[in-house]
Amino acid sequence: MYEIDVNGEKRQAEVEAGTPLLWVLRDTLGLTGTKYGCGIAQCGACTVWVDGAAMRSCQFPVEAVGEAKIVTIEAIEQDEVGRKVVEAWVEAQVPQCGYCQSGQVMAATALLKEIPQPTDQDIADAMTNLCRCGTYNHIASAVRRAAA
């Protein structure tokens, strides 16, 4: 049994050590906004914040969470920067299939909380999530819009 802090609430999970945080969020806690894409931290669809840092939850074992505060896409609009990012995503009409976008929004918001005025290189370095619809240019424009 693990107790973890997710979106400001203490939640219990009856899972084995080694269970990725992703599956605790999705199947145990029913927070399906965080997506499974690859399971090997390649695609970034599962990105959440662990104490404010963007982390790929598919490779983050539940026992490593400890006291850390987990934030998922479900709580993104409770964050001031997150709200701006969501608005920028809507204004720039970023998503197509949308499946990777939870992870993209989490990564973008984490970036802007750390670097409010990112350069193109900062965006390139931080936004490594894959998008099979090829929305990369719209993502970059939304990040710049949210930073403005």
């Binding site: 899972v15 084995e16 269970t19 990725p20 599956w23 999705r26 199947d27 145990t28 029913g30 399906t32 906004g33 965080t34 997506k35 499974y36 894409g37 690859c38 399971g39 090997i40 390649q42 695609c43 669809a45 998922t72 896409i73 479900e74 993104i76 609009e77 969501v86 995503w89 809507v90 009409q93 970023v94 998503p95 197509q96 299939c97 949308g98 499946y99 990777c100 976008q101 939870s102 929004v105 390139a124 936004m127 490594t128 894959l130 998008c131 099979r132 619809c133 090829g134 929305t135 990369y136 240019n137 719209h138 993502i139 970059a140």
Partner: protein, 750 residues
């Protein structure tokens, strides 16, 4: 269930309507050559007849029954049941725009859902599918008429209620208005009465010059939900009391599990409910997917032996390299796929003859959402199936067979797709729903099967590896007088829809090589079928995805051999094709004027390549700008002019073209499914490289509306990109890439 035989599409005919719709385009279904393919939709099937007799009704003409599509709610919102499934292409928004325009309701107040199976939705040549870039062009006229029909019924209902003449009423964004008395009634208040009225056959449509929604870049309906994690995909669905199942497929495609050495041990693992043998796979059902996956991966399974060699089934010695050699060595004569003039005579008197061989690899769809399905048998004898799919009626028929139920007992739910690109057609063992059905049956509980990313890369149906041999004859002035192409391989249309192909030449194997617009007077194209022991698929832009690369690259070789500029040669050979010529000029203008290079830019050498394509009823012209960085191709900018005849939403068209271009570039640069010893080598994105941000170029799109019949939009942006890039690289380095992906060729710096 798990064989590779073509689908019995005729068995889905019972679910198709008695009357088809008019032929959609000159290219016909799935981009087949005109007249090459006629769907057998005129025959009402057994079930339609039975239903018709039972209900004493006639099957509806698709797209005409208002209640099958529209729910007008008291709050002023509209629910639209769409014939199509949304998977990123923006079809839900486009449908809302088309219907909303004529109904007179702001599309922003629409909620759009994929309709359940039924003959009302058979809008693609009398069938129902989301694919072939057919959705908007096949349904545009019917959906406008549907909206207008509903609006007229609402006006009549309001006239009765207000006791005035129809002619005194108008509508205003969801309300019927009586201007003289200042009274108005919301559509929601009138819906029940309106739907009882007999629809008029001949309602007037809006004058396009007064369109408020069609042709406008309206915001997409699903963008906010997709930006906040609220959009629900198949993988997110959950039903009461369900088990989660994980599977491991046979290491060599087609082999069977013969024995499980540690079943008892695995059954004792945490959360495990049961262990199962399935056709070509083993499965574990558990109380969470992670536990199911841990358990299934711990299973020690002994599999049946695959054949040692041959191409009848996947063998333990099969390799993609070996298959390519087989295709290259095939000496049998093919069937003519296009014949014009006298190519033999032209070659006999040619001043110069050039030849080249082109090939392209198997490709995975690699959509970000791994496939899943939920099956639930209900106490009333029905089966609920949540299944990602592009053809609800066909999946219903196929699922009914697996479940041993009548098709009408199978309730199909078609969730939003986390990318598809052709992934979610019915591909036999490449779909997880049969496993969900078998496991739900075996366990007596609802079961959700989810494939791990690794299982998906190993078992996805793939774009076929392809090969074509080209020859061209040039006269003394360097003009091409003849072109000859032999294509060897197999296309997905014959594999999966063989029963309805009326020609032995599979259009999906040769499209992009035949029906090119250039004035090369003598043409001799042939197709030799060699079936692959591999599960093959439709992949965004299908045959065009490799054939336009082959043809348009070879075109540049012709120009080179004749001492001509490749852009100028295209202009010359299209001088009597105003639509193509116009598009070629448009893309040149978009890129700031044609220049091939190499030229200096940002501290390095760059060059440009051009390519044309005629996919899915649309036309495209593409220019790519590339450089070499440490021997790796880098594409900086793409300019694409697309002429889809006419459009519904320019913002969605541009987004689709950019998306298709990204996929085209990804396939050109990196992608390949490689087989060795009967097994695919890449199991995840670390081994199957797809385009990431660092290789995404600027994409500039120009939409040209020629007014020709409406063409497709989702796929046409793709085929021009690989050849435009290869042509740019040839201009830059002098090296001609004839085998994809480009990453396999060592390019020397310019």
């Amino acid at each position: 269930m798990n064989d590779l035989s073509p689908l019995d599409v005729a068995s889905a005919a019972p679910l198709l309507p008695a009357q088809g719709v008019a032929n959609l385009s000159r290219r016909g279904f799935l981009g087949a050559a005109a007249g090459a393919l006629v769907l057998a939709v005129a025959l009402p099937g057994r079930r339609a007849l039975a239903q018709a007799e039972g209900a004493g009704a006639i099957a509806p003409k698709p797209g005409t029954r208002v209640p099958a599509f529209l729910e007008l709610r008291p709050d002023g919102s509209v629910k639209l049941l769409s014939a199509f499934v949304e998977g990123g292409q923006g079809i839900n928004t486009a449908m809302a725009q088309i219907v909303g325009e004529e109904l007179d309701v702001d599309p922003a107040r629409f909620e759009v859902e994929c309709a359940p199976p039924g003959p009302d939705y058979a809008l693609v040549n009398g069938m129902r599918m989301t694919g072939g870039s057919f959705s908007t062009r096949s349904s545009y006229a019917a959906m406008r008429r549907l909206g207008a029909t509903a609006r007229e019924m609402l006006i009549r209902a309001a006239a009765a209620r207000l006791k005035v003449q129809d002619g005194e009423l108008s509508t205003e964004d969801g309300k019927v208005v009586h201007a003289a008395s200042g009274r108005s009634l919301g559509y929601g208040e009138l819906a029940a009465e309106a739907l009882l009225l007999q629809p008029k056959e001949d309602v007037a449509l809006r004058d396009p010059s007064t369109f408020r929604y069609i042709r406008k870049p309206l915001a997409r309906l699903d963008v906010r939900d997709k930006s906040t994690g609220r959009a629900i995909y198949a993988i997110d669905q959950k039903v009461e009391g369900m088990l989660y199942a994980a599977v491991t497929h046979a290491p060599v495609f087609g082999t069977e599990p013969e024995a499980l050495d540690n079943e008892a041990e695995v059954k004792a693992m945490p959360g495990v409910h049961s262990v199962h043998r399935l056709p070509n796979a083993v499965a574990v059902a558990a109380d969470s997917w992670w536990r199911a996956r841990q358990a299934v991966e711990a299973l020690k399974t002994r599999w049946s032996e695959p054949p040692k060699d041959g191409l009848d089934a996947m063998s333990s010695s099969f390799s993609s390299e070996g298959l390519l050699s087989t295709l290259k060595a095939a000496s049998a004569k093919g069937l003519p796929s296009e014949t014009e003039g006298d190519a033999d005579a032209a070659f006999a008197k040619a001043a110069k003859v050039i030849e080249a061989e082109y090939d392209a690899p198997y490709l995975a769809h690699a959509q970000l959402e791994p496939p899943s399905s939920i099956a639930r048998f209900n106490p009333d004898g029905t089966l609920d199936l949540w299944v990602p799919n592009q053809m609800p009626e066909l999946f219903q028929t196929l699922a009914a067979k697996v479940a041993d139920l009548a098709p009408e007992k199978v309730i199909i739910h078609s969730p939003m797709l986390g990318g598809f690109f052709g992934r979610h057609f019915a591909y036999g063992p490449a779909n997880p729903y049969p496993q969900a059905i078998l496991l739900a049956k075996a366990t007596g509980k609802p079961v959700k099967v989810l494939w791990s990313r690794e299982e998906e890369f190993l078992n996805d149906a793939v774009r076929p590896l392809s090969f074509s041999r080209f020859r061209a004859a040039l006269d003394a002035s360097g003009q091409p007088t003849a072109i000859e192409v032999k294509t060897v391989g197999e296309g997905p249309t014959a594999r999966w829809f063989g029963a309805i192909l009326k020609t032995p030449v599979d259009s999906s194997a040769v499209e992009g090589i035949v029906e090119k617009p250039y004035a090369i007077p003598n043409r001799k194209m042939e197709f030799l079928k060699i079936a692959h022991p591999v599960n093959i698929a439709f992949w965004r832009s299908v045959g065009h995805s490799m054939n336009d690369f082959f043809y348009e690259s070879f075109f540049d070789e012709i120009a080179e051999a004749g001492g001509k500029d490749p852009f100028e040669l295209r202009m010359a050979l299209l001088k009597d094709k105003p639509r193509h010529l116009n598009l070629l000029k448009a893309v040149a203008e978009l890129s700031g004027g044609w220049k091939r290079g190499p030229y200096d830019a940002e501290g390095g050498k760059r060059a440009r390549g051009v390519a044309m394509a005629s996919p899915f009823g649309s036309e495209t012209a593409t220019i790519a700008e590339a450089s070499l960085v440490d021997g790796e191709a880098k594409v900086h900018r793409l300019w694409i002019a697309i002429d889809p005849g006419s459009i519904v939403n320019p913002a969605i068209v541009k987004a689709q073209v950019e998306s298709a271009a990204a996929l085209g570039l990804s396939s050109a640069l990196f992608e390949q499914v490689v087989y060795k010893d009967g097994v695919r080598q890449a199991k995840n994105y670390d081994g199957y490289r797809i385009l990431a941000r660092d290789h995404m170029p600027e994409v500039h799109v120009a939409i040209v509306e020629s007014g020709e019949p409406m063409g497709g939009v989702g796929e046409p942006g793709l085929p021009g990109v690989p050849p435009a890039v290869a042509n740019a690289l040839a201009a830059l380095s002098g090296q001609r890439v004839r085998s994809l992906p480009i990453a396999n060729t060592k390019l020397s710096g310019a």
